[in-house]
Subunit: 256 residues, 2 copies
DNA sequence: TAGTGGTCTAGACCACAGC
DNA sequence: CTGTGGTCTAGACCACTAC
């Protein structure tokens, strides 16, 4: 009796091979975005495997962010709709920058909104206190809010400001007035003029996935913006959590 | 006889609850980076579940990028070592930008190298040809290479240049000479002075995961840099694939 | 009600690391 | 050799969706 390598071939296909086959169909477009992927039952008969094995194949593609399952309905190839964020924002104007982009978006007319606004005065986390130069006992005003495009959440942001500077101003109120927080800071003699943004990407924590309604296999992009006055003082730290499946980030700069 | 909701509680814990418990231990530091996570056998007896269930719990954390399994050895809490990439590079010099960063790195003395260098003349992909303004039939010189830090691959980059411009120059050779490609382009009257970088993040394709030796649950960051001459002509498109677990990206800019 | 995805058991065997 | 992670079967039951 011939003994077949069970873990790898077993004469049939393993869940990896099934995942590869489906992924290939997605890549070539045979399975177009939005279309239905074969059900577990169909995979079982097509590839001659049991349900858990068929299931694991789909699990792989879910974790790669290629498909989404809807219980009772089926599993579908994922569709993406990207939103472009430019830093600095003036990049949106024409210039060498107006040329063709690698990825196309159509954000111009998509309705945007904000919800979940929360304002508080807190002891800032150590890393934030350090950047803002807060002394022992000095607090921070924190503003949290969620951004939506087409009523879909795509970003959650948490901004910190030195409490001694913004105490009693509109920075600590829901309505920050014309020009927003930066205009208020300017009136306080702390106009932000230099900016640094630090970025990372990783898989989301559970709370982040819930807040942004992320599908399995969707990383988040962490953007931390620090704003400095002309004097070099940091007056804002803004920690943003972005749904990576909804964003293209764009930066522009010139050599000296 | 009391009927317990089987899918959720069953009296014991589901794989999600087990994953939550382990994740909490990682978050609090009870399970420190590098330390060994309970084996499948231990989870089975601790939580009174079968092996596949214990296994699925670990699978969740793997897909979140929190742990890595080494067959025969065990499963371990992941350790990260971050490398900082600054754009523009001059940000490295002092100034308002020299202040404390949110994430700390120690790249200064880590040895970096390049391998897998490949150079070819090809028909550029449509989106690249469009950006470079290539006419029908005009080709592109493409340079591919992989970047390593501490002999660990962290980035794979593919650069395209208009073949009519760089034909027969060192841009199309392995050794690009002093100052690299940008110095050669300058000599050709095509000095890059303006830059745009577009970023995305997503889970890696299989080929990307292999090339960068990525652990499960590790997204990639896609960076596409387009370089323009003073005349506004695009002379380089550089598509980079970054291991998100190894990188912090930093951008700086000033208002007006 | 039928079909689809989601969870779990019970048990088997394979591949690999470390002692 | 033992223990660890990796793969698979066979069969059960639950929860949800669409008809």
């Amino acid at each position: 009796m011939v003994q077949v390598d069970r873990a790898t071939s077993r004469g049939g296909m393993g869940y990896r091979a099934i995942a590869d086959a489906l992924r290939a169909e997605i890549d070539t477009g045979d399975l177009a975005p939005g279309s239905k992927v074969p059900s577990e039952n169909e995979l079982m008969s097509t590839y001659g495997v049991e349900q858990p094995t068929a299931r694991r194949a789909l699990e792989v593609l879910k974790n790669e962010g290629l498909i989404v399952a809807r219980r009772g309905a089926g599993t579908f190839v994922r569709e993406f709709r990207l939103y472009r964020r430019r830093s600095p924002a003036r990049l949106a104007e024409s210039g060498w920058n107006a040329g063709r982009s690698i990825w196309q978006t159509d954000d111009a007319k998509r309705p945007t909104s904000i919800d979940h606004i929360e304002i508080a005065t807190v002891d800032a986390p150590d890393h934030v206190a350090s950047v803002l130069g807060l002394q022992d006992g000095e607090k921070a005003v924190v503003r949290r809010r969620r951004y939506l495009v087409d009523d879909v959440p795509i970003q959650f942001a948490t901004s910190y400001y030195p409490e001694p500077i913004v105490r009693g101003t509109q920075v600590a109120e829901k309505n920050t007035g014309d020009g927003g927080v930066y205009a208020r800071l300017a009136e306080l003699g702390c106009k932000p003029v230099d900016f640094r943004e630090e970025l990372r990407s990783r898989m989301p924590r559970e709370a982040e996935a819930k807040l942004l309604d992320l599908a399995q296999g969707t990383p988040v992009i962490l953007v931390v913006r620090t704003a400095y006055t002309a004097g070099g003082q940091a007056v804002e730290v803004n920690e943003m959590v972005l749904d990576s499946s909804s964003y293209i980030l764009e930066y522009g700069f010139s050599s000296s």
